[in-house]
C-alpha cells in the first residue's frame, strides 16, 4: 500500500449541502451594508419633486426659489439632461423627468441636492409648479379602445372550428400587486473628478442600468460605472431605472457625492408594479376529459410607460393555458398604456395573472365533466417532447407535470384543526370567528413558467474565476438581492475546483461583462451555469498544463500523488479564466405566436387548504402542499426558502395584497394599508422536490424563484371558492366579495 505524504481534505459546502450564507450573520446582526447605509465624505442628499396629478400639463416650472433655500446646492429638471431625453428597459420612452406633461401620479419633475435630507425636502417644497390638470386615462378597456398600447400579441394555433362536448366560459380580474421589498430604494453617486461617475444604487441588473444611463448623460460607456450594492429584496421592482440617472446628473453637476433614499411611501410610487389584468376565457373539452380548444382575451394595464410590458404580455399569452396539452389555441392579448402607475416586472411576470384564469377554467371544466379536478389536470398534463400549447415549440428540456401531479396527490391531506386557538381561525387575533362558523375548502394550482430570457434575446452571463494559493475568487455582476446567489456560486465553484475558500467578488460594469438580470428565475441557471462551466474549463486547463488527473486546495494530483502544490501551480500569481455562458438559442415567433421562443420551462403544483368564515368573508390559509420541478436541488435550505417565500407571495396576492388605485392615485402607499401576510397569515407549507435534470444549466438545476408564486395563488383562490360553493371572479379575494356585498 502506498501512502501519499499529503492527504486531501474533504471540502465542505459543496453541492447538495446548505452552507451558511456569508452575508447571513451580518444581516441578522445589523452589520450588513445595504444601499441605504452607504456614505461618502462630504456627500449631499437628494430629494425628488413628484407629480401630484396622474395627468397634467406643466404650465410653469420655476426652480429659482428652491435654489434660494440655504443649503440647496442644485436643482435639476428635464432641461438639464445632457443627452438622450429618455430611458427604458426596452425602448427609451420614459423621460428622465416629466417634460411638458406628467403621465402618472408621482412622476419625477425635478430633483434637489442639498446639505441634508430635510433641506433637500424644503428645496423640493420651494419649487414653483403650475399644472393644467388633464383627464387621466385610467380604464384599461378604454385604453384598448383608444389603441393606447405597447404590444398586441396573438396566438393562432390549430383549428378554430373544432369544438368539444363541454365548454366553460369565465371572466377574471387580477388586482395590482406590489413587490414591496423590505429594503427601500437607495443609491449613492460619486463623481470621479474626470467627468465620470461611480453609481452605487439598488439594481437587479447593473449593466441594463448602465446601457440606459450613459446615453442620457452623454458620456462614454466607461465613464460611468454601475456597482452592485446590498439590497433587501427586489422581486422585479429593481429591474427598471428609478433614481439612477438623477443621482448621476446631480453628482456631475455638483462635483460631490450625492445620496438618495426613498421612504416607504416614495418607494411605492418610485418603482414599477405588477400589471393588473382582465381576462376572458372559453375552454372546451371532449367527453373523455381532454382539452380540445382554448380561446382567451387578455388585457394587462402597463400604466404610463413601457418598462417591460412587451415581454410581460408575451408571457401572459404564451402561458395563458398552463401546463396542459391543447392543439387549438386562440389568444388575443394586449398591454395597454394608461395614466396609472407604471407596471413592469414582478415575480411570475405575466404568468401569474393568467394562472388565476386557466386554473379556474380547469376546475370548471372538470366539474362540468364530473371528473376529479386533479385527475382532469393529470389527463391533460404537458410533458417533455410535447408541443407547447401556445407556440407549438417542442419541449426539449424536462417537464415532469404528470409526476408533480401524482406526487401532490400522494401527499397526506391536513386534518381539520383540533385546536380552537383563535389565532388559527379566520380573523386571527381579532377573535371574530368560532370554529362552528368555519367552512373548509381545498383547491389546486398547477402552473408553468419559462426560465431565463426568451424570444431571441441574447441572454448571457459573464464570469471570471481567479485561482490563487489563498483561494478562489469569482467575479460577477450578478445582483444578490437576498435570494442566495452568493452561496450557490460558492457551492458550484467548490464542487468543481475542490477548494473550500471561495469568495464572490461583486463587480462593476467596467470590471466584468453583464450577468443579465436577477429575474426570470435565471441566475442559478445562468450565472450558476457560467460559474460551473468556467470552473470546469479552468480546472481542465490546469490539469492539462501539469499532466494531472485531479485538482484540490493542495495542488494538482495524479494517481493519488500530489504532483505540484497550488502555490507552484499559480507561480506567484493567479490562474484566471473568463467565459460568457449562453443558454440554447431562442427565436422570435411569427405573427401567430408560433415558433421556438423559450429556452426552458418549469412546473409547480400546489394544493391549498383554507378555512373561510363565509358570513364575515374572512379567510385563513391553513396549509399549502407543494411539489416543484427543480431539475436538481443544489442547496436544500435555499430551495425551500425560495419556495416558501414565493408561495407566501402568491398567498398574499390571493387574499391580501393590492395597490388601491383610484383614478390613477395610489391610496395605500404604506404598510399600514398595503397588507403583506404576517407570520400568522402564513400557512404551514409542505414542500417536495421533483428532480429531473434540465438540458442546460449547472448539473441540471432549474430556476425555482417564480413558479411557487404563480401556483400558490390560484390554489388558494380555488380553495376559497370550494369552501363557499360559489364562483368569485377577482383576486385578491376581499371579505366583501365572499359575503357578496358591494
Amino acid at each position: 500500500m502506498t501512502t501519499s505524504p499529503v492527504t486531501r481534505k474533504r471540502i465542505r459546502g459543496g453541492i447538495g449541502e446548505s452552507p451558511l450564507r456569508p452575508d447571513g450573520i451580518p444581516k441578522v446582526t445589523g452589520n450588513f451594508a445595504y444601499a441605504s447605509d452607504l456614505h461618502a465624505e462630504g456627500m449631499l442628499w437628494a430629494a425628488t419633486l413628484r407629480s401630484p396629478h396622474p395627468r397634467a400639463r406643466i404650465t410653469k416650472l420655476d426652480t429659482a426659489p428652491a435654489l434660494a433655500v440655504g443649503g440647496v446646492v442644485a436643482v435639476l429638471t428635464q432641461d438639464d439632461v445632457p443627452g438622450r431625453p429618455g430611458f427604458g428597459m426596452h425602448v427609451p420612452d420614459q423621460p428622465v423627468f416629466a417634460a411638458g406633461e406628467c403621465n402618472y401620479w408621482g412622476e419625477p419633475i425635478a430633483v434637489v441636492a442639498a446639505s441634508d435630507l430635510e433641506t433637500a425636502k424644503l428645496g423640493v417644497a420651494a419649487i414653483v409648479v403650475e399644472y393644467e390638470v388633464l383627464e387621466p386615462l385610467t380604464d384599461m378597456e378604454e385604453a384598448d379602445a383608444a389603441d393606447s398600447q405597447t404590444r398586441r400579441m396573438k396566438i393562432r394555433r390549430g383549428d378554430r372550428t373544432v369544438s368539444g362536448a363541454v365548454s366553460v366560459e369565465g371572466y377574471y380580474e387580477v388586482g395590482q400587486q406590489d413587490q414591496a421589498p423590505l429594503g427601500n430604494e437607495a443609491g449613492l453617486a460619486i463623481p470621479d473628478g474626470d467627468g465620470g461617475v461611480d453609481l452605487y444604487a439598488v439594481s437587479q441588473w447593473v449593466h441594463s442600468d448602465h446601457w440606459q444611463i450613459y446615453p442620457c448623460l452623454n458620456l462614454e460607456p466607461e465613464q460611468i460605472r454601475c456597482h452592485p450594492v446590498g439590497m433587501g429584496g427586489a422581486f422585479g421592482s429593481r429591474e427598471d431605472v428609478s433614481m439612477h440617472i438623477h443621482l448621476c446628473m446631480l453628482a456631475l453637476r455638483t462635483g460631490r457625492p450625492v445620496k438618495m433614499m426613498f421612504d416607504r411611501a416614495e418607494s411605492f410610487v418610485g418603482h414599477v408594479h405588477r400589471h393588473p389584468a382582465r381576462m376572458w376565457y372559453r375552454h372546451e373539452a371532449d367527453a373523455d376529459g381532454k382539452l380540445v380548444k382554448v380561446e382567451a382575451r387578455l388585457i394587462l394595464d402597463g400604466g404610463a410607460y413601457e418598462s417591460s410590458s412587451n415581454a410581460v404580455i408575451a408571457n401572459a399569452a404564451y402561458f395563458a393555458m398552463g401546463p396542459y396539452l391543447c392543439d387549438n389555441v386562440f389568444i388575443d392579448s394586449v398591454a395597454v398604456k394608461t395614466n396609472n402607475p407604471p407596471a413592469g416586472a414582478m415575480r411570475g411576470f405575466g404568468g401569474v395573472q393568467t394562472a388565476f384564469g386557466h386554473e379556474a377554467q380547469m376546475d370548471r371544466l372538470a366539474d362540468e365533466l364530473s371528473i376529479d379536478r386533479l385527475e382532469f389536470r393529470r389527463r391533460n398534463a404537458l410533458g417533455q417532447g410535447d408541443p407547447m400549447n401556445s407556440s407549438g415549440q417542442i419541449i426539449e428540456g424536462s417537464l415532469p407535470t404528470a409526476e408533480l401531479i401524482d406526487e401532490l396527490a400522494s401527499m397526506p391531506i391536513v386534518e381539520p384543526l383540533a385546536s380552537d386557538d383563535p389565532r388559527h381561525l379566520p380573523g386571527g387575533t381579532g377573535l371574530t370567528t368560532n370554529p362552528d362558523h368555519v367552512k373548509r375548502g381545498m383547491g389546486y394550482g398547477v402552473t408553468i413558467k419559462n426560465l431565463a430570457f426568451s424570444e431571441a434575446f441574447d441572454d448571457y452571463s459573464d464570469v471570471r474565476i481567479s485561482l490563487s494559493p489563498i483561494g478562489v475568487e469569482v467575479y460577477t455582476a450578478a445582483a444578490e438581492v437576498g435570494q442566495g446567489m452568493v452561496t450557490i456560486i460558492q457551492q458550484l465553484a467548490r464542487e468543481v475546483l475542490k477548494i473550500e475558500q471561495v469568495a464572490v467578488v461583486w463587480s462593476d460594469t467596467n470590471v466584468i461583462g453583464s450577468a443579465g438580470s436577477t429575474s426570470a428565475s435565471r441566475q442559478t441557471q445562468m450565472t450558476g451555469g457560467a460559474t460551473y462551466q468556467c470552473a470546469v474549463e479552468l480546472r481542465q486547463q490546469i490539469l492539462d498544463e501539469f499532466g494531472g488527473d485531479d485538482l484540490s486546495s493542495e495542488g494538482v494530483w495524479r494517481d493519488g500523488d500530489l504532483l505540484v502544490t497550488l502555490a507552484e501551480v499559480c507561480g506567484g500569481g493567479a490562474k484566471e479564466h473568463e467565459i460568457r455562458y449562453r443558454h440554447p438559442e431562442t427565436f422570435a415567433t411569427d405573427e401567430n405566436g408560433q415558433g421556438d421562443p423559450h429556452p426552458a420551462f418549469a412546473v409547480a403544483a400546489h394544493r391549498a387548504v383554507v378555512d373561510v368564515d363565509p358570513e364575515l368573508g374572512l379567510v385563513r390559509v391553513v396549509q399549502l402542499d407543494t411539489v416543484q420541478d427543480v431539475g436538481k436541488v443544489l442547496n436544500p435550505v435555499a430551495a425551500l426558502g425560495q419556495i416558501e417565500g414565493g408561495a407566501l407571495q402568491g398567498v398574499g396576492m390571493a387574499v391580501l395584497e393590492e395597490l388601491v388605485v383610484d383614478k390613477g392615485v395610489i391610496k395605500n402607499p404604506n404598510f399600514t394599508d398595503y397588507l403583506l401576510p404576517t407570520f400568522l397569515d402564513a400557512p404551514h407549507i409542505e414542500v417536495r422536490f421533483v428532480e429531473e435534470p434540465e438540458r442546460w444549466g449547472p448539473l441540471g438545476a432549474k430556476g425555482i424563484g417564480e413558479p411557487p408564486t404563480i401556483s400558490a395563488g390560484p390554489a388558494v383562490y380555488a380553495a376559497i371558492q370550494d369552501a363557499i360553493g360559489r364562483h368569485l371572479h377577482r383576486v385578491p379575494v376581499l371579505p366583501q366579495h365572499i359575503v357578496g356585498s358591494s
Binding site: R423, G430, E615
Partner: protein, 268 residues
C-alpha cells in the same frame, strides 16, 4: 425642536399651560407616524413617559400612560382582548390607552370598550383642574376630541361594578397587525341588559342604543330577536367606503359581529 421631559403631572401641566401649542408625546406610535409622513412638524414636544402617576392602574382608574402590553393582562376580559389586537408586540410595548384616546381615530381599538363600559375620560389642566367627560362628549369627530389646549388626558375612569361579562372582537383583512374595518364590544349586566359599542363604523365610537333596547326587552332573545338585533345594529351604524372596506360590507359585518359577541356573552 424643543423637548420637555416632565417627571410629574404638575410639571407637565405647567409646561402645557405655558405652551398650549406643544405636542404631547406618550408612546409615539401615532404621533411619530404623523411626523414621518410629514403631516406634523412639532416645534415643541412634551414627553409624558417619565410621569409615573400617569402609568398607574388604581382600582377603577386606568392611567393614560398605561401601555397595551400591560392591558393585555387586564382582568377586564374585553380590554385584554382588544389590547392583544393592537399592532405588534413592539407597538403594544410603547403605545398607551391615553394615546389611543388622544388620537381619537374612528378605528382606535380602545374606544368601543370605553364606550361600552361607560368609562369617563379624565382630563386635567393647571388652571381649571380636573374634568370628566363621557365618551359621547369627549369624542367629537374623526380624530377630534374635546381636549382643551392646556389639558392633559390623565385617565379613563371606570364606573363601579363593570360587568365581567364582556366581549370584544375586531375585523381586519389580515390575521394580526391590522387596522379595524369594524370593531365591536358587548357588555352584559347581570340583569340581562347589554351595551353594544362599535368602532370604525362612524366618526366616533357608536353605541347601538336601539339594539341595546331590543335586548333589554328580550334578555333571553329568540332566533327572531337575534336576527332583528343584527338588522338593528346594521341600521344604526353609519360607515363609509374607503380604501380599507366598503360601506355595505361594514354595515353587514357590524351586525354579524355584534350578534356573535352577544351570543358569547349569553353563553357565559
Amino acid at each position: 425642536m424643543e423637548i420637555t421631559r416632565p417627571t410629574s403631572l404638575v410639571e407637565a401641566l405647567e409646561a402645557r399651560a405655558e405652551d398650549p401649542g406643544a405636542d404631547l408625546l406618550a408612546g409615539g406610535t401615532d404621533l411619530m407616524v404623523e411626523v414621518n409622513f410629514g403631516h406634523s412638524r412639532p416645534e415643541h414636544v412634551i414627553a409624558l413617559r417619565r410621569i409615573a402617576e400617569l402609568a398607574q392602574i388604581d382600582g377603577n382608574r386606568i392611567g393614560a400612560g398605561v401601555t397595551w402590553a400591560r392591558l393585555e393582562k387586564s382582568d377586564h376580559r374585553a380590554l385584554a382582548q382588544l389590547a392583544r389586537t393592537v399592532g405588534s408586540p413592539q407597538i403594544r410595548a410603547a403605545g398607551t390607552i391615553g394615546g389611543n384616546i388622544g388620537t381619537a381615530s374612528p378605528a382606535g381599538d380602545g374606544l368601543p370598550w370605553l364606550a361600552a363600559v361607560e368609562a369617563e375620560i379624565e382630563v386635567t389642566s393647571k388652571d381649571r383642574g380636573v374634568r370628566r367627560l363621557p365618551c359621547s362628549e369627549f369624542f367629537t369627530g374623526v380624530k377630534r376630541n374635546a381636549l382643551a389646549p392646556d389639558e392633559v388626558i390623565t385617565a379613563a375612569i371606570l364606573p363601579e361594578n363593570v360587568p365581567t361579562n364582556q366581549e370584544f372582537a375586531k375585523i381586519g383583512q389580515r390575521s394580526a397587525m391590522v387596522i379595524s374595518t369594524v370593531s365591536a364590544c358587548v357588555v352584559r349586566d347581570d340583569d340581562g341588559t347589554v351595551r353594544v359599542a362599535l368602532g370604525s363604523v362612524a366618526p366616533t365610537p357608536l353605541r347601538a342604543t336601539r339594539a341595546e333596547a331590543l335586548i333589554a326587552e328580550n334578555p333571553d332573545p329568540s332566533e327572531a330577536v337575534l336576527a332583528e338585533f343584527v338588522r338593528t345594529v346594521s341600521a344604526e351604524v353609519s360607515p363609509i367606503t374607503d380604501h380599507r372596506s366598503t360601506e355595505s360590507y361594514r354595515r353587514h359585518a357590524a351586525g354579524v359581529l355584534a350578534r356573535r359577541l352577544l351570543e358569547r356573552c349569553l353563553a357565559r
